[in-house]
Symmetry: C2
Subunit: 331 residues, 2 copies
């Protein structure tokens, strides 16, 4: 079955049903391919991925230093119609869109926090470049850019990679977040994220990183222990409109934050997600793009993820102190 | 630090920050207590839990057959004020409420699907009885009743147990669900859940269980592979107002559904959550209580849980067919 997007009749949330994606290889599953043995993302295996849509060359390890390819097992793919089709009392639409994989580096074992800042900056510049290319299709309403590290965060391959999914609708979570930010702005006359930057810069106890252009914090109402957000200090609603001159500072604070996370909690799985305005929307004063990094603990919080009801057992102030201490912890 | 409820300034969602809960024993963690060795929920260890608030006696295994105790490491507890306290630009309130644990059975290894229907019905009757008792406090706005099975679903003890959390506010997910149901009802003049019962009873391909009073389905826009919902056929907005005569039928369909889930996917972790109207709200024509059962795959979907953006690789029609087949699968 080709990917299909189904609408929940109660919440209005869209769910992608993509059966073929269940067939993708998973290095972490019992019986899956051995780690590193047949890695399709390693140099020399380029023919095992679909052809690249973008390549950065002249890497230290050989021919290329970053590749972007179409996902072989896409959540969404080209073709079909964006019309809502009735299905009994329900509705669905074709799973149109695109699903690209950014192979961050040719080095199988070089994680983000171990890469030179320059290479991390290349990853973010690539996100921006691809998002600006993809959004030329007016049917693309939202572009989700993210990175899953580790089995418990949903990664199926160990080789460092990121993902770019272009969607024909705006996910409900994004709509809710923007609505919340708009309500705050209407009430207070300011962007809530600008206020957060100001508050946290003054309070300091939730700061885990800072440079001229970005601030990294453990947010006040952290849903997950050791959750962190990275915010640009200057207001900007769309990630893909970021000046490319900021890429080094962004790379530096992301590398530093993941470094502190992995220094405090060795090897912890995480999802890194870029939150941004829908690509076809105009610049907005009330919404401010940012990055959220959510650690995934194997033994915690399964319940919270499905319900929107969160219990966090490590306060963000404690988490920041632990991340800033340079010590190791077991949670 | 006593539990505190913090409000996210963007989403308006409340997060419980409960540091002491991080200290609770976890049988599943490396270095945690050995399985079954010092189980505080087994007969003979009654003094290791706080005193019971409710006990069902005359069990086949000895003295009691079900106990309800206060959680030793509560997410919320009595005392404090429900007033919103400013905290810089943010707000929080005391973590008031209650957190009870239902010890489902004296038998350490007898899971829900292995219990006699009569014992499962006792668990649901206990939920109803406790909810009706707890809601007498007008400060209690919502009562969340749930069951985590297995490590990946957030369980910290293997002995079969359920949880009842009374909260001083209604979680945002509940508000959103009820708003969605109200919007459907205003548009269509009917309860969306009543419509789902009718639609699925006719379509059949997503039905995994049925009796006189309840229907079990894999919902059309399943967020998670093998997600199931159990709905009462007769409209009722509040779970705790269910006629106690229905408890046997409810027990039977829950037991059957978990049995099919565990028959298809051996030992899979799950969260079982009762969705119901806020306890102080009057009977509503647009909302219909139900139970959602969400399997948790170790290697899947970490991403989706944190974002509200779901990719499901097993269609609900396939999941129903697999659950009804009696065969075993590896996912």
């Amino acid at each position: 079955m080709a990917p299909e997007i189904r609408k929940d009749p109660v919440f209005g949330r869209w769910v992608i049903v993509a059966s073929e994606r269940g067939l993708r290889p998973n290095e972490f599953k019992p019986g899956g391919p051995e780690l590193g043995h047949v890695c399709p993302f390693c140099p020399g295996h380029e023919e095992e991925t679909p052809p690249p849509v973008y390549t950065l060359r002249n890497g230290e390890g050989g021919d290329w230093r970053l590749r972007v390819v179409l996902n072989k097992y896409p959540a969404l793919a080209a073709g079909g119609s964006a019309a809502n089709v009735p299905d009994g009392m329900y509705e669905h639409m074709d799973g149109i869109g695109s699903h690209e994989v950014v192979i961050d580096t040719p080095f199988h074992d070089r994680q983000l926090e171990d890469m030179p800042v320059r290479d991390v900056a290349d990853i973010f510049r690539t996100f921006i470049l691809r998002a600006n290319e993809i959004k030329k299709d007016p049917g693309v309403k939202y572009i989700m850019i993210f990175k899953n590290f580790g089995q418990h965060a949903g990664a199926s391959l160990a080789h460092p990679h990121s993902q770019i999914i272009a969607m024909p609708m705006v996910p409900i979570r994004v709509v809710t977040e923007i609505d919340g930010a708009r309500a705050y702005s209407e009430k207070n006359g300011r962007c809530v994220f600008c206020d957060i930057v100001r508050e946290e810069t003054g309070f300091r106890k939730r700061v885990v990183g800072e440079n001229d252009n970005f601030l990294a914090i453990t947010p006040y109402a952290s849903r997950f222990s050791f959750e962190t957000w990275i915010l640009p200090k200057k207001h900007e609603s769309h990630f893909e409109r970021m000046e490319s001159g900021l890429a080094e500072d962004l790379a530096s604070i992301v590398k530093g934050t993941i470094g502190k996370l992995h220094s405090a909690l060795e090897g912890i799985a995480y999802n890194l997600i870029v939150h941004s305005m829908p690509v076809q929307d105009r610049e907005a004063g009330h919404y401010h793009w940012h990055i959220e990094i959510m650690p995934k603990f194997n033994h915690m919080a399964g319940f919270e993820w499905g319900t929107g009801f969160y219990i966090n057992t490590v306060s963000p102030e404690d988490a920041a102190e632990m991340m800033n201490s340079g010590k190791k912890f077991k949670i």
